[in-house]
């Protein structure tokens, strides 16, 4: 797949403090990409560089086939973590304004926005003021503002925080829809289960440095500890199974976890188990959760 974004050795300093240090990664076109990291890691700085609010001190950002420039703002959608709208302005007028600064004509903006209002069943919000809406409702309005100009590249910073499960599902569904239509989504969140659910690839930033990158599967494989979960029937004597290659790390009534000391393939594990006096009902390799990987990586 072609890359839509190539971040090449980007650094950013505030005073003498390093906010980002030699960050490099690529984002594949049409993917949902997770930008992860603890608070203060430099995610917002990186996002602000992508939205051209800040300029990098070193390195460059390639968008498509050229260096990122102000002309690209029309192709980028952005939902910042710190949400904000004009409180006293009518929602309809406000969204038209935001759509027009993203390059849409008045007529186009109005038509598209009306479609979105119908889709989200919020037609009566058009003439309301933002201050009359709840936070969750405002978030829906902001989501529309971020995508109304149909950006090729969409940056969503904690898009689901503060949303109830119904609205979370609605926004999740729209993110998937956008992906299916060919948009690339850069998704920044602390909620690892959301990342596992929708992201194809991730990068993990800590203290301004990139500490992990890759597609979800390969990252998990990199962190796997060669633990296998085996379901069984009857009785299992763990002393019999344990030898110089294997140890039992956890044992229950219906399953146990086996850790191989050396890195070996699941097939080899299975072959070994078959030679033991066990009735096997299930077998799977245990991969670490993203949450575990996250904690392990940033506390190293």
């Amino acid at each position: 797949m072609p890359t839509i974004l190539n971040i090449d050795n980007v650094s950013k300093y505030f005073d003498r403090k390093i906010a980002l240090k030699n960050i490099s990664f690529q984002v594949e076109s049409g993917s949902v990409f997770g930008l992860l990291g603890p608070n203060g890691a430099g995610k917002t700085t990186l996002i602000r560089i992508l939205t051209q609010i800040l300029l990098p001190d070193n390195g460059k950002v390639i968008f498509g086939d050229h260096e990122l420039s102000m002309n690209d703002v029309y192709k980028i959608g952005y939902l910042p973590e710190e949400r904000g709208l004009y409180k006293k302005m009518l929602i309809g007028e406000q969204l038209i304004y935001l759509a027009r600064i993203k390059g849409l004509s008045y007529k186009e903006a109005k038509t598209r926005l009306q479609e979105w209002f119908e889709k989200f069943e919020i037609q009566d919000w058009w003439t309301k003021k933002v201050e009359e809406l709840s936070k969750g409702m405002q978030q829906k309005v902001q989501f529309i503002a971020a995508i109304v100009h149909e950006p090729r590249f969409l940056i969503l910073d904690e898009p689901l925080s503060g949303l109830d499960p119904v609205n979370s599902e609605l926004i999740n569904h729209e993110i998937t829809n956008l992906k299916n239509k060919g948009a690339t989504v850069l998704f920044s969140t602390h909620r690892m289960e959301q990342v596992e659910e929708i992201c194809d690839s991730i990068v993990l930033i800590n203290q301004g440095e990139l500490i992990l990158k890759g597609d979800l599967k390969s990252v998990k494989n990199r962190f796997k500890e060669n633990i296998f979960e085996i379901g069984f029937e009857g009785v299992v004597d763990e002393k019999k199974i344990k030898n110089q290659n294997f140890e039992v790390v956890e044992k229950g009534n219906e399953s146990f976890k086996l850790k191989s000391i050396n890195s070996i393939s699941p097939n080899e594990v299975l072959v070994y188990l078959l030679t033991q006096d066990i009735i096997i009902t299930s077998f799977k390799e245990v991969l670490p959760s993203l949450n575990e990987i996250f904690i392990k990586s940033v506390t190293k």
């Binding site: 602000r48 609010i53 703002v73 952005y78 904000g84 006293k88 993203k102």
Partner: protein, 442 residues
């Protein structure tokens, strides 16, 4: 450019569509008209008639007093002590006692009433008494009393400006009034619209919408769009005010003129009030004197170059506003709330306040060195130059002053934009002047 236009539209329309804007815009001229006409109206519509018993102990002043629309004088021969007891039952509101007059001494009159003697009535009585005393003195000196009319001198100075084009009339009284008023208006306008810009920036910063905006617009475009939008809000307000004020004065003039004319015929004292000229001239024919002064004022008004005053008002409003607005925007971007802004805003407000403090001395000496230099310094020129223009200022001075003002606007907007760019994304602790300097020079 297109984006500045979009920001401009939003800033302009969101304010002009606001009900509060129209409330202030429409109420202000009504207030001005009411203030301007209040004294006349009060005078016309008060039924506060005064009937004054005149006790003339020397019997020299029987034909002196002329009744006005609200004042009547009646000669009274009752003894003063009795009169004091029953003057109200006799229908009087007060007693005026003119003691025996010794023409070589200063006369001392007495006035008895429930209320103290008002300034207007006092002037009216003294004018007429003094006039009579002069006549008596002339009689004593065996001079023709009609000579008194010629005695009165109302010297007048007409100021003429000599320049290459020849001589022109230069005004002083009206010039001072208009100069001071223009300076005062610009002073208020700079503060009001400057703060409006600051609040607008703070609103965007605090509502956090600024992050969305500057991911699509350059901070500079956002700042300039906002500043220009609010400038046009100001211009719209002026236009409405001027139209409404002219309209209001026309209507009020039409309504009041029959009443005024009627009053002029019946009361000479009304003339003094309406022309707002209190003449304490002791010597006769004060109406003629008033006419002369009024004529001078009217000719001063006619001589004023209103086109120049108006055009320069707009130019200096725009120049001064643009210069200060960018600084107000920079401060709004740097702070987290209006309370924090108060410390940083002082250095910006000081030149405005100092210019205002010099305003009076400049109108007193509009062509002095102080006036010249203050109208060249961009931070004071909008207020000071405007106050000088009614007196006549050489073209080269106006041109240089405007050039300096607009080039400073460009320089300061550039520097303010640097602060603004960093400031709008800085939350947390209040920045110090040192921080602003660092943002500006980075």
């Amino acid at each position: 450019m297109n984006k500045i236009w979009l920001v401009f539209q939003r800033e302009y329309l969101s304010r002009v569509k606001n009900k509060a804007f129209w409330l202030i815009t429409l109420l202000a001229p009504i207030g001005i008209i009411l203030l301007a006409f209040l004294p006349v109206m009060i005078n016309l519509f008060t039924n506060d008639k005064q009937v004054i018993a005149v006790v003339d102990e020397s019997s020299l002043f029987s034909n002196v007093f002329v009744d006005g629309s609200n004042t009547k004088f009646k000669m009274e021969s009752t003894a003063l002590e009795d009169l004091k007891k029953n003057y109200t039952t006799k229908g009087y509101t007060s007693i005026l006692v003119i003691p025996k007059i010794n023409l070589n001494e200063q006369p001392n009159l007495l006035y008895y009433s429930k209320n103290p003697l008002g300034l207007q009535l006092k002037t009216q009585i003294l004018t007429q008494i003094n006039q009579k005393i002069v006549e008596l003195k002339l009689e004593q000196a065996k001079l023709d009393p009609s000579f008194a009319k010629n005695l009165q001198q109302n010297a007048n100075i007409e100021s003429k400006i000599l320049d290459k084009e020849g001589e022109k009339s230069g005004s002083s009284t009206i010039g001072t009034i208009i100069g001071y008023a223009s300076g005062l208006i610009i002073y208020i306008v700079l503060l009001v619209y400057g703060s409006m810009v600051m609040q607008g920036v703070l609103e965007e910063k605090n509502s956090r919408i600024v992050e969305i905006l500057i991911s699509s617009i350059k901070p500079f475009e956002l700042m300039i769009g906002k500043i220009l939008g609010i400038a046009f809000v100001g211009l719209t307000q002026f236009a409405v005010w001027i139209a409404l004020t002219i309209f209001g004065f026309l209507i009020a003039g039409l309504l009041l003129s029959p009443l005024l004319l009627q009053n002029l015929k019946t009361s000479p004292s009304a003339t003094t009030q309406i022309s707002n000229l209190s003449t304490s001239n002791a010597i006769s024919s004060n109406t003629e004197a008033i006419d002369l002064e009024t004529l001078t004022l009217i000719s001063e008004v006619q001589n004023l170059n209103f086109n120049l005053i108006f055009t320069s008002f707009i130019i200096y409003f725009l120049g001064g506003y643009l210069l200060y607005a960018s600084l107000f925007a920079a401060i709004g971007s740097a702070v987290n709330n209006e309370k924090e802004a108060s410390g940083l805003i002082l250095p910006v407000m000081m030149p405005i306040i100092i210019s205002f403090m010099f305003l009076f001395s400049v109108t007193q000496n509009p062509n002095g060195d102080l006036a010249f230099w203050l109208s060249m310094i961009p931070f004071s020129s909008p207020i000071i130059m405007l106050s000088r223009i009614p007196f006549g200022v050489p073209w080269w001075q106006i041109t240089i002053s405007i050039l300096i003002l607009f080039s400073s606007f460009v320089v300061f907007t550039y520097l303010a934009a640097k602060i603004y760019r960093v400031g709008i994304l800085s939350y947390g602790s209040k920045p110090k002047l040192k921080d602003l300097w660092k943002w500006m020079t980075n």
